[in-house]
Amino acid sequence: MLSYIFRRLLMIIPVLIGVSILAFLLIHLIPGDPAVAMLGERATPERIAHLEEVLGLDDPLYVQYGRFMGQILQGDFGRSIHSNSPVLWEMGQRFPATIELTIAAMIIAIVVGMGAGIISAVKPYSIFDHISMGTALVGVSMPIFWLGLMLIYLFGVKLGLLPPSGRLDVTIDLETVTNIYVLDAIITGNWVALKDALRHLIMPAVALGTIPMAMIARMTRSSMLEVMRQDFVRTARAKGLPEKTIVFRHALKNAFLPVLTVIGLQFGYLLGGAVMTEWIFSWPGIGRWMFMAIGARDFPIVQGGILLIATVFVFVNLIVDVLYSYVDPRIRYD
């Protein structure tokens, strides 16, 4: 197993090189350069030329790419063209927010999605099944920005139950350690901040969790249904095992593999930043950051961000693959 993990980690290197070349080319091939983006209406030939010279944008592409890779290898992700702030610092400010939101969204998605899927499978074609699968269909198809705005309007403005957007009430002081506010609040024992951070998390997590929730629910149901029809389940029933034991110990364990795949993929996607959710809920995560950087042609941020997202995705996949062998002992990596 260890050697398998090691091999998989080694494979990350060519993947990242490929991703970096692709990211570099893509962002350089679209029209509009960072000097223009930065100067906006105020671009003059002298100013653009000056900026391009200062930023090294007048060098040939391969020189720029070489410089970029050279920096990365030394652990230097460069500085943002637009703000001159270090890319790593910017990432460190935003990635924890994305992690926090992703975990919250996935918790909701997994608990509710698997729960609904299991019940639907145990009582197929029941009213609950129809309702929950109908809801799941709506969930998959619902535009997040619409759902988000409706949630804010209902719970934030009309009922006043939850703060409309943001991560934490701006007047609350929270000493940051990890920049994952919920965790920081627990570490520093700041219960006011913890409560407030959780309240801020609910709506964006629900909005972001809706699609994975629906996918998990549908996958759990279909996979469970298939397993429930198999002989060993009938045998278990014949043995007189309680239904609960059959469903959770025997069926669910066998039906979990495809569900785990969905969970893993969704986790990876969400960790790549959720532009719409972050936008609507003023969540300072990497989705919004990357989105703005692409618009501003802020090459170092886009390149650094894509590398981060690719790395995270590869790692999440690796973790899922390793988990497979725990779920299904027949799967071995040697």
Binding site: R47, V111, P163, P164, Y326
Partner: protein, 545 residues
């Protein structure tokens, strides 16, 4: 079995976290909505503290004013820094700030500033002439040790490069600074008053180097406390301010990118004041007694530029026809929520030098049609109309405005296809003249007519990448504008600019569309807010009940 055991633990943890989440929400359901929102705030800030929370669309890119070009950065830095001089609260007339007075030599090449005594930076260091010299040399000399942390863009732009027009800055004594210019520059003092030229503490600049952008230290009415990128910037009152102290104890800028969310934040009371209001929401705010709408005086122009290098727009008759075909009034009522004036000049009417004697091209499709026929296009022609992809203060709904213009033009037989790209591409392509007609606009930097007419319509700027995207070239106009740049007498300059506007009106390279007055919405409890024409203002006079 092992997995099942782990899974159970996992489920337990998940349920636990989830129940905390639900509890976080549930605990407040008992109390009434508005109270629950406020309690978070009052736990941290003492009840007597006055905190203003400003909701805005974007984050600052940096807090070193010399190294930023965006309004969201300027909005914050103008509260942290003072320049040598500043603009009056409601106009672009220049007033004393860190300099108490100043004089210029007869040839306009020497400027002497007498500095305010007893001023301290936020880090406790004293302010004097050496600090002024340090700052200006940092901005203008590319080989200065601390010319780092950015590209010092506005310096090069306003003062003509590095070092540009400034030959030397010297401390004559502890509180006197003398500038020697290479040539007289009429806009010098108005430029020095701009936000990028806020005086920074040299100690702080030296200490933080490249990272000064997130550790700003000035002399202004507010001190910097904290910046959480894409989330908030927190400032507190500077108790040792040299002028009248700020009324607020804390000033917090929150980034709320979505316009609809931002309005809902205001409605739920979590922010006190916001900008970036879509015209559709203006009525909502106007009809609610809890809020007030403040209009920013216009120092902008939205225009439709016709590419005079391309047929048929090389013919002034065609350009005049287009001017007469577009119904500006209707467009402003429909897509600016009425919050704009129709434009007849490139200059906004609030600027000195505005020529009010010019007669606007009246909306007259019949006359436009006959002009087109005279120009040889009795049946019109096909062309492209470029519409911006993003709202700007001068065009709040550019796509819809573009479509309205398209419909107007169709009436006289001009079949215009709408073209749009993402913002950066749009700017890039229009600067290189790929368009036939293109919508764009401008917000003034320093309140000087030169900053509109020379930048947007002089032949010097009609070279790609151009600021003059009509690629309009007129030598007579050029001579007038250059003369005005070197003339020190404002009355004489105003005359020159009035003549310039006559020429531009005759040649009609643009359809000047609108001078918008962007709205700012605030709670009724907010008072003392005076929006400045330049788009940014210090908030030291703002109070909240």
């Amino acid at each position: 079995m092992k997995f099942l055991h782990n899974k159970r633990v996992l489920t337990l943890v998940i349920l636990l976290v989830f129940s905390v989440l639900v509890a976080g929400c549930g605990q407040d359901t008992g109390s009434s909505g508005t109270e629950s929102k406020d309690d978070g705030g009052q736990q941290a800030a003492a009840p007597s503290e006055k905190v203003l929370i400003w909701g805005r669309g974007g984050d600052s890119s940096g807090l070193d004013p010399a190294n930023v070009t965006d309004g969201e950065s300027a909005k914050v830095t103008i509260n942290i820094y003072d320049g040598l001089v500043k603009y009056q609260r409601d106009s672009t007339e220049v007033a004393p700030a860190l300099a108490v007075d100043w004089e210029t030599s007869e040839d306009g090449k020497t400027w002497t500033f007498n500095l305010r005594e007893g001023v301290k930076f936020h880090d406790g260091t004293d302010f004097d002439a050496d600090d002024v010299v340090f700052n200006f040399e940092r901005w203008m000399n590319e080989d200065h040790e601390y010319h780092i942390g950015g590209t010092f863009d506005y310096w090069g732009y306003m003062f003509g490069g590095y070092p540009g027009v400034v030959e030397s800055v010297t401390a004559v004594d502890q509180y006197t600074v003398e500038f020697k210019l290479a040539s007289p520059m009429a806009t010098f003092i108005a430029n020095v008053a701009m936000f990028p030229f806020g005086i920074a503490s040299p100690e702080a600049v030296k200490e933080h180097g490249e990272d000064y952008f997130k550790n700003p230290v000035g002399t202004g009415p507010f001190k910097f406390v904290e910046w959480a990128p894409d989330d908030k910037v927190v400032l507190v009152k500077n108790e040792n301010y040299w002028g009248e102290q700020a009324k607020l104890d804390q000033l917090i800028f929150r980034s709320i990118p979505d316009n609809a969310t931002r309005l809902m934040e205001l409605q739920s009371g979590t922010i006190d004041i916001m900008d970036g209001i879509t015209p559709d929401d203006v009525a909502t705010i106007k009809n609610d007694d809890n809020y007030q709408l403040t209009l920013r005086p216009s120092m902008n122009v939205g225009y439709l530029a016709m590419n005079t290098e391309k047929e048929p727009f090389d013919d002034p008759k065609v350009r005049k026809a287009v001017n007469m075909a577009i119904n500006k009034k209707e467009i402003i009522n429909a897509f600016f929520a009425g919050l704009a004036k129709t434009a007849k000049n490139p200059l906004p009417p609030s600027l000195w030098g505005y020529n009010d004697a010019i007669e606007e091209y009246k909306f007259d499709p019949a006359q436009a049609k006959s002009l087109l026929a005279e120009a040889g296009f009795p049946n019109g022609f096909k062309t492209t109309l470029w519409a911006m992809p993003v709202p700007r203060p001068y065009f709040p709904q550019p796509q819809k405005i573009g479509e309205a213009m398209q419909a107007n033009l169709a009436e006289i037989g001009i079949e215009a296809e709408i073209v749009s790209h993402d913002w950066t591409t749009y700017l890039d392509k229009t600067e290189h003249g790929e368009h036939d007609m293109a919508m764009l606009g401008w917000t003034g930097d320093n309140g000087d007519p030169d900053n509109f007419l020379y930048v947007l319509l002089d032949k010097d700027n009609a070279v790609a990448p151009a600021g003059n995207i009509a690629f309009y070239k007129n030598d007579e106009l050029h001579d007038l504008l250059i003369e005005a740049q070197q003339e020190m007498d404002q009355d004489v300059r105003a005359d020159l600019y009035k003549q310039a506007q006559v020429i531009i009106h005759e040649d009609a390279p643009w359809v000047p569309m609108s001078h918008s007055t962007p709205p700012i919405a605030s709670k009724k409890t907010v008072s003392g807010y005076v929006p400045h024409p330049t788009g940014v203002e210090p908030l030291d006079t703002v109070d909240i009940q």
